[in-house]
Amino acid sequence: MAEMVWLVPLIPLLSSVMLMLCSANLPRLLIGLLGVGSVGAAALLTLSIGMDFLADPEPFQLTLWTWMQVSNFSPGIAFYFDGLTLVMMSVITGVGFLIHLFSTEFMEEDASYARYFAYLNMFVAAMLILVMADNLLLLYLGWEGVGVCSYLLVGFWYQNSANGQAARKAFVVTRIGDTAMALGLLLLFTELGTLDIQSMMAVANQQWQVGDTVPLIACLLLLGGAVGKSAQLPLHTWLPDAMAGPTPVSALIHAATMVTAGVYLIARTHDLFLLAPISMMVVALVGLATSLMAAFTALMQSDIKRILAYSTISQIGYMFLALGVGAWAAGIFHLMTHAFFKALLFLGSGAIIHYLHHEHDIFKMGGLRTKMPVTFWSFMIGSAALAALPMTSGFFSKDQILLQAYMMPGAGPWLWLGGLLGALLTAIYSFRLVFVVFFGEAKTEPDGDTGWRMAVPLVMLCGLAMIGGYFIIPVADVFPAVSGEHPAHWVEYVSISVPLIGLLLAYLIFHSRQINMDTLVNSSVGQLLRRFWFGGWGIDWLYDRVFVRPYYLLSGLMKNEPIDAIYGLIVAVNQTFNHWLAEAQTGQMRWYILSMVFGLIVLLTLALQIPLEAL
């Protein structure tokens, strides 16, 4: 079975190509079957391969062909399969399948049905290539591939310029990170002579000592890529805007899979990061800072998808924190659980949006609890998991992260404290959402609740979000073992109780209104903070002023080719000479004679110089 692993990305890819080529000629049913079926097939294949693997957990490598061979550079189109790969593939194909299924209903009335599934399938293929790649170059192929698919899907409704703007922003901002990553690849190859991840890490361990500069630079460059793709500070600004795409897309790409690619990348190349402790610290700090920043921002948003987007940023921050403190497995675990509950939440919001005529503003919703029960329960479970209420999947993963952060020598407790604050905020904003949308008086009337194609994925994801915490991911062989020590019990208790406090606060503020925040909010400081947080800490504004506008200005100034001015000058000089000389051709004979005499005098003057040899 294992050697069939290449089929997993190929099936969606082929389906995508078919959908593109025959888009006009296929009935909708067939399109749906093809789109969903291909991912389903990939999921089944992954399942059966995974079964085999779990029976015999031996990583294996499969080279299809040598991509290119130049000098000593010979990356292959090659896959590597181990526990980590399996986890990622399962998430991608599994969650991906559910979201595809959801989409068939969500996108039912869209004119570009085939195009949608073509893109989505292509995304799945690219994402699979990303996680299966044996070498960083192929990983980069997948990496850029998902970027393009993300671009296409965010800008899916291209008639609206704003969507295009958002899509371009998503692509360009991640591209900045990608470029750093590409430079990292160049550096790694130049230093290590290979891009095959496994052998690269082996060589790196031999060649470098812990704390060397080169691995630090390499790791920081890779981190650049990861930060871009995973929407971490300072390259997170694209993700909230990327919500312009269809909601299932947000669920799949901007919650469950693509945005976690950065986490995967760091986990995959963890040996390098271990060689550069400073980079690990940077990862942790970036993660923590991002998670706090995003959590504050999420608290202020009113657009349902933006809340979820910032929450995603925040949660990925947790994953980074986990990676940074060396809790590799915990990070990946959180990645998986997050995929479940965040996909759930996004799909839930998708259902709301779909049946509420594309309404995004949570304050225009309310009381949907009874009208859309499936959605409500999805949201409840999803939010519980997101807030890491005990027994939900999120609880298990987040708890691990916090505890291991605490255990980190040195800065551990501080990181833990920060994480706790984040957890508190998470609980508050997630239940704020629930209370505002589903409780209170009804403000709008939905068209109904979800059909089966929406309900099935929601229900299944509910299940996963609930029980996902009990999964044991087979990554023990992939990562170095974590010390088995446990922190003091009070630490655990605090960790468990903080989300509950958050829930309580949310209830008091947003539902029962027993705590009135209005005075605080309306004070001048409150307003300022509110606006500051609402705008994502002004980072977008800053970028706009520092990068975007100057770039527009610069290109606008140069539009008419300043270099041409130099050539224009040459032309002007020649024209001037032409003008002067042509003026001299007066047509008057006396003037001509004058010039001849003048010439004679010049010639005589030159000729009468006594030659050197005569002296």
């Binding site: 000479f577 000389l581 001509y592 004679i593 001849m596 004679l600 006594i610 050197l612």
Partner: protein, 481 residues
Amino acid sequence: MNSSQMMALMPILMLSLTAVVLMIQASIKRDQGVAWWITGAGFLLALWGAGYAREFAQPVTILLGVDDWGLFFTTLILAASLVTLILSKDTFSPEGERKEEYYLLLVLSVLGAVILIQSSHMASLLLGMELMGVALYGMIAFPEKGELPLEAAIKYLVLSACASAMLLFGFALIYAATGDLSYGGMGAKAAVAYSQEPLVLMAGSAMILAGLGFKLSVVPFHMWTPDVYQGAPTPVTGFLATVSKGAVFVALTRFFIEGQLYQYSSLIVALSAVAVASMLVGNWLALRQENIKRLLAYSSIAHFGYLLIVLIALSIIDNAGGGQLIGEAITFYLAAYILTTLAAFTVVANLAGEDDSKSMLGAFDGLFWRNPLQASALMVALLSFAGIPLTAGFIGKFYLITVSIQSQLWLLLVALVLGSAIAIYYYLRIIFAMSKTSGATIKTGSRAAIGAQDILAILLLLMVLALGSWPQPFIAFAGGL
């Protein structure tokens, strides 16, 4: 003078005979058709004579030195004269003006050119040049209508006479310094004279350069060129541009080499200044010129600037080894220039005739579609002027660059490159005008039968191309001269 020497003078004799026959014919019955045929026959005879004389190549008295090189240019010039003759038949004064005098003047002018080419003595140089010039005055002013030919003629006459006076005075000074009037004798004695009275020799040489430079229209003696080119009937302009300039350059070369003037660095400096100025000024002037005849005049200024490089290079390469190269360079460039210019003027003469307004750039709009044959000929000529490969002009320029590299004349090389770069613009302007599809109304309908003019244009076009794409035979030939 013995009979073998007479044989060596065969082309000159034939031309003189033609002149006499023309006069006799005029006195019997005036008929310009007959006169045309007589002239043509005379040129053909002279051509034959030029071939015949090769066996007898030798100095004839002190005045003329008949040699292979001179005979080659004699042939070339006679061919150019034939072209002029053919062009003259139809393209100007179609209203039956009596042109016998014109043909007679043409023959005399050619005679002057041939003498000039073979001159080895200041007297023959003087007489040849004047004969050519005096006949040309008449030819330029020949058309009865219009004021431009008259203006051109009077300007040419006065300025040319002024230049002749300079030339004469220069000769007188050299004669005073050396006591010899033949190039060789002068060159031999110049060394002595130079050690005693260097300034007289140099001043004389400078004035001679000025006088000859006028005929070559190099800067700053160039100002007459556009006016005369424009005002003269187009075939005469072509004649002036090819025969007159070519012959004068050959004479200058002889004088320069045999008189060993290249030894004197001050003259070389003066000549270099003239060359650089010509290359740049000529091209600058042509840059935005709207009248094709004037444009060609300006371009000829630049071309003779280029050609002067070869003479300057003599000062460095000398006769050792590189002399061969220089000889080939002069021969090739001049031949290429003459052929190319003839091709250009053939087309201009056909299209513009005597009508000045028809030689404006606008009149050439869409020529490609109206008259592809003539347009192609003009295009190839212009490309050859511009020095684009596969044309004769390119090989010529190739020679010049090689020569200037071999003699390490970097300044001149820079000027050459700059000038050529500027020149591309105005040659292309004409080509662009000819290729316009809008102005043409694309009417190919009235396609007249291919006339003599067309055959001539094709012939010249093929020769320019042949010389450019298969130059080896000609190089070998030129190397043998």
